[in-house]
Amino acid sequence: MPVTEYKPKIVAFCCNWCSYAGADGAGSARLSYPAEVKVIRVPCSCRVNPMFILRAFQRGADGVIIAGCHPGDCHYTSGNYFTRRRMTLLFSMLDYLGIERERTRVEWISAAEGAKFSKTMNEFCATVAALGENKRLEDLRCKK
């Protein structure tokens, strides 16, 4: 019997002005990133409400990553600075509740950094794959 490799489900919230273009850049440079990464485009990384992250986990995500502009480069001047504070607190809280902190991540990826996008996603996928399925923030109703 062939052992099917465990593929984690990853949700990536990508800022429209940088990381989303970075994903494009990765594509045009023929740099691959795992198919398990589902990209959701947001107007700014600071659009990501903590509830989005929790709901992603509820709906079966094993890892959630937010990718935004480098601090100082926000299209809206300061959005990502607020993202940074919010996510710092949220991730710390998830950790405090005993939920693996490696499942959540924030990365700053500019439109020019296709390679970084690809590398980040590959690394994040590998990290989450090593953790296995999300069991601590799951909603059994959503499991098949």
Binding site: P50, R85, M93, Y96, E100
Partner: protein
Amino acid sequence: MQEMMEKRALELLADGTVNRVLGWSVGEFPYDMTPAVFRSAEDLKDRFVYNDFCGANLSKYLIKESKGEGKILVFLKPCDTYSFNQLIAEHRIKRENVYVIGIECYGKADVEKLKAMGLSGITGIQMKNGEYVVETVYGNKTVKASDATAERCLSCKSKKHVVFDELIGEDGDVVEDCNRFDMVEKLEAMTPDERFAFWRGELSRCIRCNACRNVCPACSCEQCVFDNPNSGVAQKAAVNSFEENMFHIIRAFHVAGRCTDCGECSRVCPQHIPLHLLNRKFIKDMNEFYGEYQAGADPDARPPLGTYTKGDREPNEGGNK
């Protein structure tokens, strides 16, 4: 204390400074006082009470009451003044319609602690000289008042009134070594597995009654996201562990930077979930990451989540062990 408060309230009602008084009214037992609005001298004389069991934070009622006709007198304990100030900062209370009398407080009593000592059938509690003589149908028992002090008061952060129009009793100081983060630190020192087990045990008891939210002075939204049918999270189910996690994480997050750590959430939880430990985690993190901040202390201060610096720490760095 009660006499002084009642006397002053009667004076202010009589001279027209205020037309209502927000205080506590007598209960069935010595420990179950209900917050109440008194509109006449007769009513005050009839029902007004103040004792060690008057723990409720009255500031939340002012959101509604301060919008009423005329000025209202309110009695605030030191910790309540922080909530009041925070609500002022958020423009939820009309300051000019409230007359605040700060009342000194050396810690409130928690009847649950008396009951946990096995005291039942309580018919009276005589309070004097740091002792409670608890009269029950099963006999009387004398307990040290300090043994019945509410958990939240044992780590009181401040005996100072940050806002008042006048004081009854002494104003105190901010308590520097209040140890209020001890339990948070203890949890942080645990392994993730232990922390997970701890919170699962606690949060799984949640019955989603919304008492924590409704009593919280920081939860002053006109419509809560959890009541909004269009939010996608307006589920009332208490199942499957996810719903409770979601509710409590998001609630704590929504009040982060605005929570004054008054402890009402844990006081009212019918399931005795230590909800304040979630809020305190945020407070502790914000203190460590962004500098000391006490919500409500200064209504003009920028809340940590409403500002930033260019060199803030990165989310991936982690805080716990």
